[in-house]
Symmetry: D2
Subunit: 339 residues, 4 copies
């Protein structure tokens, strides 16, 4: 076991995630504006949903706090979760016509992607404080809160309630900042809620831009080392800051830092990598690996995802990640990502 976070081995679930479950529509005729794409493939989506599928494919047992729509798209995501072995006992249907969030992806080229989200009256944002079951929460080794759940009430209060209870129960909290501009009202609001949650998290994952949003009211100077130091002073054990193509850095609360780079692959699209990274990195931590090994595993999964059409559906198994790493190292050298 890694020395930074203690995961209680007696718990039933490896991870319970809180946040959105959504549906992605990715065009099969891409390399053009979305308005011109005519045919779309439907996939389970939503960052924490993808991470859950990623961890399930890696052999971990996940649970989920979520609200989905009471329609065929809700049935689709629930069936998909069940098929992947994810516990759906705390995924509830909305009852007032709220719809599951949609993401239409526009792939103009391998490096120019954008998304068009349907998030008005989104089902996931109706997660309610009454949905947060203390008994269920007590059965997990860790809780992951997706920052998107904080963007609107009542999901915001449900996430904060889960956070407070997890802290009281001494369950490690992972905060995946996962910034999406939709639904947020202003940047101060983002900073208020991100920083409140970050100040109580054990692991924080985010891009440099996401840390900047989080620290807006804090007068830090925007360097990774200052960010890490600040949040570790608040209680965080591991702070991971991502810099896209430049790679990412993990800061641990013993003053160490670990750098990882992307594996070289032919990109199909420029999204989905983050969820592969998070699920495989967390897998490594849960397995008690060294931070560097966990980071490399995460970076490999990320590379595999940006080279494939789906996010959730293309999450790799442990064997597949290992084969990918072996192949890359054979081609580019042992230090391809660690260099």
């Amino acid at each position: 076991m890694n020395q930074y976070i203690k995961f209680n081995p007696s718990k039933r679930y490896d991870l319970i995630l809180l946040g959105r479950v959504a549906v992605d529509f990715n065009p099969t005729d891409y390399n053009c504006p979305l308005s011109q794409s005519t045919t779309f493939k439907k996939y389970l989506g939503g960052s924490p949903a993808n991470i859950a599928v990623g961890l399930a494919r890696l052999g971990k047992k996940c649970g989920f706090f979520a609200r989905i729509s009471d329609d065929e798209l809700g049935t689709f995501v629930e069936d998909f979760f069940i098929h992947e072995g994810i516990d759906t006992s705390h995924i509830k249907r909305c009852t007032n016509g709220e719809k599951i969030g949609l993401t239409f992806t526009e792939i103009r080229s391998a490096t120019e992607s954008s998304i068009l989200m349907y998030r008005n009256e989104a089902a996931d944002l109706k997660l309610d404080v009454s949905d947060i079951d203390e008994d269920y929460l007590s059965q997990t080794k860790a809780l992951l809160i997706s920052g998107t759940a904080l963007c609107e009430s009542p999901s915001r209060e449900a996430a904060l309630k889960a956070l407070l209870i997890a802290k009281r129960m001494e369950i490690p909290v992972i905060f995946d900042i996962d910034y999406r501009a939709y639904n947020w009202k202003n940047e101060d609001e983002i900073a208020v809620y991100y920083s409140l949650v970050a100040s109580k998290a054990d692991i924080i994952l985010g891009s440099r831009e996401e840390f900047d949003l989080t620290e807006r009211l804090l007068d830090l100077n925007g360097t990774d080392s200052n960010s890490a130091a600040y949040w570790q002073k608040q209680g965080a054990s591991i702070v991971v800051i991502k810099h896209g193509k430049e790679g990412s850095v993990a800061y641990t609360n013993d003053g160490q830092q670990y750098r990882i780079k992307p594996f070289p692959v032919k990109l199909l699209k420029s999204f989905g990598g983050g969820d592969g990274y998070a699920s495989a990195f967390l897998y490594g931590l849960m397995e008690g690996w060294d931070i560097m090994d966990a980071l490399e595993f995460g970076s490999a999964s990320a590379a595999m995802l940006v080279a494939s059409h789906a996010c959730s559906q293309d999450m790799p198994t442990v064997r597949e990640v290992n084969e990918f790493i072996a192949k890359e190292k054979a081609e580019y050298g042992e230090m391809v990502a660690r260099g």
Copy 2:
């Protein structure tokens, strides 16, 4: 010219429509629940949008009062309209993140279809009284109001404003009831607004169920002849009541009635027919045809639509409808639909 409605030939537009423009996603792997369909084709949709395309394909010049989203799906529908020769000068983009309505169609079998609509904060329902340009309205031979535009404010008031101005300008008003349960709050509300508009319309089109909703507070007895008599007393010239597979009846204000039946075709889906029917029937009226000829033309277009995958995109030209009628009559006899 038919004797029931006078269309002023000096006007620039044959028809201005008011109501929703939407996007349809129809599965290409159908005959299963929507949750299991994996691939979808994207089409322009929305009943009045389909009617506009239908009339444009038949050679008529249409305009439109609508609000669409300020994103790539909005661009898609605007481009499609422009390509069809429909005037888009009064189709505006929403500015507060409202999204264009979506319709996912579920085709379980040729006769079991259903739809899943995304209509929360739908762009079309943001049509505003300030969008109703009197000068534009003065340039049309007729105004078509889709009943769905009445389901919520501010679109409701925009439709009522257009109605009042059209009446003042003596422009014939066509009321296509087009009932969609989404967004309506209760049946009394439906009856209030449908009956207010129907009482001022020159042509009313609807199914028997739609007339029942309209007449809920009026204590009529639910027969077609009573409906027709009541609305004609209020001022309607033509009342068309549809009975699905049983065909439909047009009542004219000279006491005549005309019955038409569906043409026999192999169904692919059970929707889309109504918009083909409306566009082709109105085309016949505008051409000054006898009511029976207009009805037969409408019924032929309806049959062609339910046998094809799209709604808008598969709207036929005059030659195609005529060829279809000729082929059907050759196979089933001259009175196949008029019998």
Copy 3:
């Protein structure tokens, strides 16, 4: 009985009113800005509520469709109505914390009054279509709709439902335009709903400004005679247009017009007169008086109201109005108001 409106004598209620019941706070230390007034008297208020009290004081039996708050101020208005003999069986309490509307009156001088209204989430605007009891409505000789009830849903639809049912039952409808800027979104919306209701009313009461708002989309020329002619063509029997200190005119659908002037009195405040006028004029009509006699009676009540501190509480009895008229005529001559 007057020849313009038939009131069915077999009905239990003389008038059922639909609209707001509110609470007025009138300062006792006035002739200063409201910010400086320190002490306030509490009265039942709201235009249709005042009219109901006015008619009750004159001996008529009234009923009411309304929603009030579920608190002590709701209890106050209900108790007041019961004490005046007004039927409260269809006045319901709101259940979601909506509050009864408040009106703080500012009396800067006898001629400069203004009001500060509390109308956010006002109880009266929660009147619902389900509150409109057909059986109750069938028991009245006439229905009065206050235009303020049209300013927002769901009260708007409740008023329209009552209108449609009253028309079906051939119950005379009195439309008191009663314009209050609060809650209305724009002038087109006002024109849409006012004109829809006015086009189905038997008696319309309003100031010149209120008729202008009603006719905004109709391209009339803003003269009283044009207004009267237009609405009488739509079906109205009596159209009363008020011009403040200049007096008012009643147009009847036999082409007659009747003019009345205010009685000279020492004003205390510049509001409340309209409700006295309406109740006393309607009383005269219901008694079958000549239009001129009804107008004089209305004008007398109006004069009494603007000279007193309250609206509802100071509504006069028949004897009091007659004494007032006699006294005025003794002082100023028989034609004081009819001149």
Copy 4:
């Protein structure tokens, strides 16, 4: 100076308060249900507004973050503040018709009081993150946050932003829990926000019931000593827990506790005491008094308030409090409140 909190003497304001400014209407004909009271006196109200007036009367310089209505009642409260010497530079007018909150007090007897609040679309709850001026905040010795400001967005986020900035600037934060049921959606929501703010406050003031609401998700056992220990561990220096007629206890973070009792007075009403208590207790702290002396001063002001008709308007000066204490001690003995 007391040893628990350091107030920076170089700052311009003694205290900036954040929360509601409201208007109270207290009946002059009381000892009856509110529905029967006919005459009302108008006063400035709202807990933090009363505290500001209290401190101003005691000679302290206060500022305020608030939103008020853009009408005569807004003018009234602003004029009142200016007259008391309170800085109003950061009190802004609402622009969308929001109204200042109202409180009608019902005084059934000296011990049975209740309040009827108008808080729908209340101006104070529109306080926005953009209203929180860092420069202004930097000029105060302390910040007081009223818990009512947390009940709804956007006021909630404005309060949280002020809290985070004050902490960053090392300005002591006073959290006056001030629970009002209005606007809160559920008890979990209350617990989430109260506990987030309490965990960062230097001084917490509340009744036992208010601490129970705050601690609902924390699994404490509801005793004062546990509450004090928990919040002091989070960082609080002084925790004051009130028990109504039983008096109150102040726990300091050096493990001391101080008990005070109410002074015996003839009650007129059962509210208003808390704001007198808070203002006079904080005055004592700011003066550097011993905790017991500050508590006694607070208890004296509380006693004076419950014996008078207004809250704000009857706040005492230092001399008046001292005279009251001297008189009480002369009559009941030196230890009358400290016993």
